[in-house]
């Protein structure tokens, strides 16, 4: 074990002696994360998202919907109802009420991220099981709109309840009419299906004029994006280093040391893994300064970072035996890391790419990590929500390591 650390520490020392590497570690990813973050509408005060709500119904049911909304995304501040320290709704202190037209103006003026209008008679319609339309306004409708996503998530249980009601009514009617149990079941099923197909509550999107794009903090995208890409570049750089070490014969010197091959390989792997974690650390610090909301579950983030770094390190060792020259390794590194990063949503959110691209993105470990990050950063997910991604990355690590270790060339 001691030898593994000695090798890893020495490799890191060699790495940081190279100014080019330091530049790649501390300067380039930071600049890229900042530029992309601002491009995506970054801003450090955007830890909270201001949402105007005009509740024309004002009943227990409408209040319930707002409660659900707050639970789905705690960073939403529903104006004028919510009061949060250090974050104001920016309403007229004398008359803190909002009309639909007030709210619309505020959306257009970028004073609020979105406006939600709950129609009068919301509760009544719900009880009568009549269709309801909730109006939603923002400058631009997009899948990445976190407010819209939260709203849709919040109305789902309400829709579910409505369907359940329908089903029980249908069953009750059927009970009176028929005795055959199988007809009863199919009736219940038919009703549920037909009602499920048409959601009772619908959100009607409205775009308001204005300039800003995606709501939320752009750094939530760019910081993990550039981190995952640069960890990939750092890990793949290890392939070049291995070839260099063979050329300068230090690798051969390591092989003739009285140290087992497992220690030698372990040291080389650990070095890359630690460099990957250092890269993440650098970008997390950038994230802290740019006000990235890291969600509520640091453990979930740690799991994603560890399993992703392990996964791409393993990937680089699986690839290494295929490469013969440094030049070849450099171009493969560049090609692979840039394409896997772009494909996996390191540059732009996967939510904005066409469906077929989203399917293809699943071959990139970057996508597994980015999906995990967006669960935590955008939707306040926890360990359970990222488990699938973490497990995928761990299994992939295992497979890549088996390939890498079996094909590793000591000669």
């Amino acid at each position: 074990m001691r030898y593994i650390f000695t090798i890893a520490i020495n490799d890191i020392r060699v790495y940081i002696q190279d100014t080019g590497n330091l530049f790649n570690l501390f300067v380039v990813p930071v600049i890229l994360a900042l530029v992309l973050g601002f491009a995506f509408g970054g801003g450090s005060q955007l830890q909270y998202i201001r949402v105007d709500v005009v509740d024309l119904d004002n009943t227990a049911a409408s209040t319930q919907l707002l409660t659900e909304l707050r639970q789905v995304n705690p960073s939403l501040v529903l104006c004028p109802f919510d009061t949060v320290e250090d974050f104001s709704c920016n309403l007229n202190a004398d008359d803190p009420t909002l009309t639909v037209s007030d709210a619309l103006t505020r959306v257009e003026d970028d004073q609020t991220a979105a406006a939600i209008v709950i129609p009068a008679g919301y509760e009544q319609s719900l009880l009568n099981i009549e269709p309801i339309q909730i109006e939603y306004y923002s400058q631009e409708i997009s899948q990445t709109d976190v407010v819209l996503q939260a709203l849709q998530t919040a109305i789902q249980p309400v829709n579910g309840e409505v369907i359940a009601t329908w089903v029980s009514i249908g069953v009750a009617q059927a009970l009176n009419a028929i005795q055959d149990e199988s007809i009863l079941t199919s009736t219940a099923y038919d009703i549920a299906r037909s009602k499920w197909a048409v959601d009772n509550i619908q959100v009607v999107y409205q775009t308001a004029s204005g300039t800003s794009g995606i709501t939320g903090n752009g750094f939530n995208q760019s910081v993990p994006g550039m981190a995952t890409m640069y960890v990939l570049i750092t890990a793949f750089g290890g392939m070049i280093v291995l070839l260099q070490e063979r050329k300068q014969w230090t690798f051969q010197r390591l092989v003739v040391l009285p140290v087992s091959r497992a220690h030698l390989l372990g040291g080389k792997i650990l070095a890359r893994f630690l460099l990957g974690l250092i890269t993440f650390t650098v970008l997390i610090i950038v994230g802290v300064f740019t006000g990235v909301s890291f969600g509520n579950d640091p453990l979930a983030i740690a799991l994603i970072i560890l399993s992703y770094t392990l996964c791409v390190t393993a990937l680089s060792f699986a690839f290494a035996p295929l490469l013969r020259s440094e030049e070849q390794a450099s171009s493969v590194t560049l090609l692979l890391s840039l394409s896997l990063a772009a494909l996996g949503g390191a540059w732009w959110p996967l939510e904005i790419v066409p469906d077929f691209m989203r399917v293809i993105s699943n071959i990139s470990p970057v996508a597994w990590a980015m999906n995990g990050f967006s669960e935590v950063l955008f939707y306040n997910g926890g360990v359970v929500d990222v488990m699938l991604y973490v497990a995928t990355m761990l299994i992939a690590s295992l497979v890549f390591f088996i390939i890498g270790i079996m094909t590793f060339k000591y000669e």
Partner: protein, 356 residues
Amino acid sequence: MENIVEARGLVKIYKRRDGTTVEAVKGVNLDIRKGEIFSLLGPNGAGKTTTISMISGLIPPTSGDAKIGGYSIINSPIQAKKLLGVIPQEIALYPKLTARQNLEFFGRMYGLGGSVLRKQVDEVLEFIDLKDRQNDRVETFSGGMKRRVNIGVGLLHKPQLVYMDEPTVGIDPQSRRRILDTVFRLRDEYNMSVLYTTHLMEEAQELSDRVAIIDHGTIIAQGTQGELTQQVGEEDRLLFHVGEAVVDEALLKRIEQNVEGVTSATYTVLNLKELTASDAPQTDLIDKLSTGTVAAIRAGHTTEGLVTVVARRGRKALPHIINLMDSNGVQIQSVEVREPDLEAVFLKLTGRALRD
């Protein structure tokens, strides 16, 4: 005396990328005794590096085994490698790290730590005479200094056996002298055995207690220098440099017939222009040529006459031959006496000169 290295039936067959194979080493047996300097002498591509790479555990033999201090490099590689200090042909150092950082890292990898490590690194720095440059990056060093650090790394853990693979290639004569002296010090002061590979006959001759000559992957002779030269008889070669003078057949005949012990006398004219036209670096050229020829080149001559006499007791025949040549008006510029050497052994066993 006990053997520190015993290699038996070492074979290495390399597979080339195009599918063909090269049998670089074809069944090598070597015995190296404790505390001796053992040279592996052979021309370029003879299989020297391949042989010691197998002995040191860098590459696995296709067949055969080698034992270091009784430990098989195949079955107990870690124990075997502990006894071995490695000084590769290449400068195997991290260029971005300082001399001291390089030494410390490899020292740790040899299991040293704490004050022992510090002491050993200091001692090695003293030994290779680089104490004052220890905190400079290796990439800023001259070729000779890099070589010395390269040697130092192999000595850190006080190994019983040190192998040095052509450590004098491509460096200036002064640094080379220093390295050869180092080899003696390792044997005499530190009681180490040294396995030294070279393609230079002079180095093998100066250094070795025992020599193995390798050619085309086969050991063609092994033993002390005396044992080897006996194989080629006891005849000396006398080289007379005669400059531009012309020597006729009659004089050669007279030398052969009238001087006791002489078996043959030949006259050749060396074309110096051709010799110096080769791209070989100056140090290599000096190795190849006799001192008389070098002097002629330096003097700017384009051709040089050379009379080679093979004689049983060369030194005794020398005055007679000089007299004969003198009385025939041939001016001798310099004379060299070559006793039977490894070059001659190689020539006899392979029919080729070691230089080719």
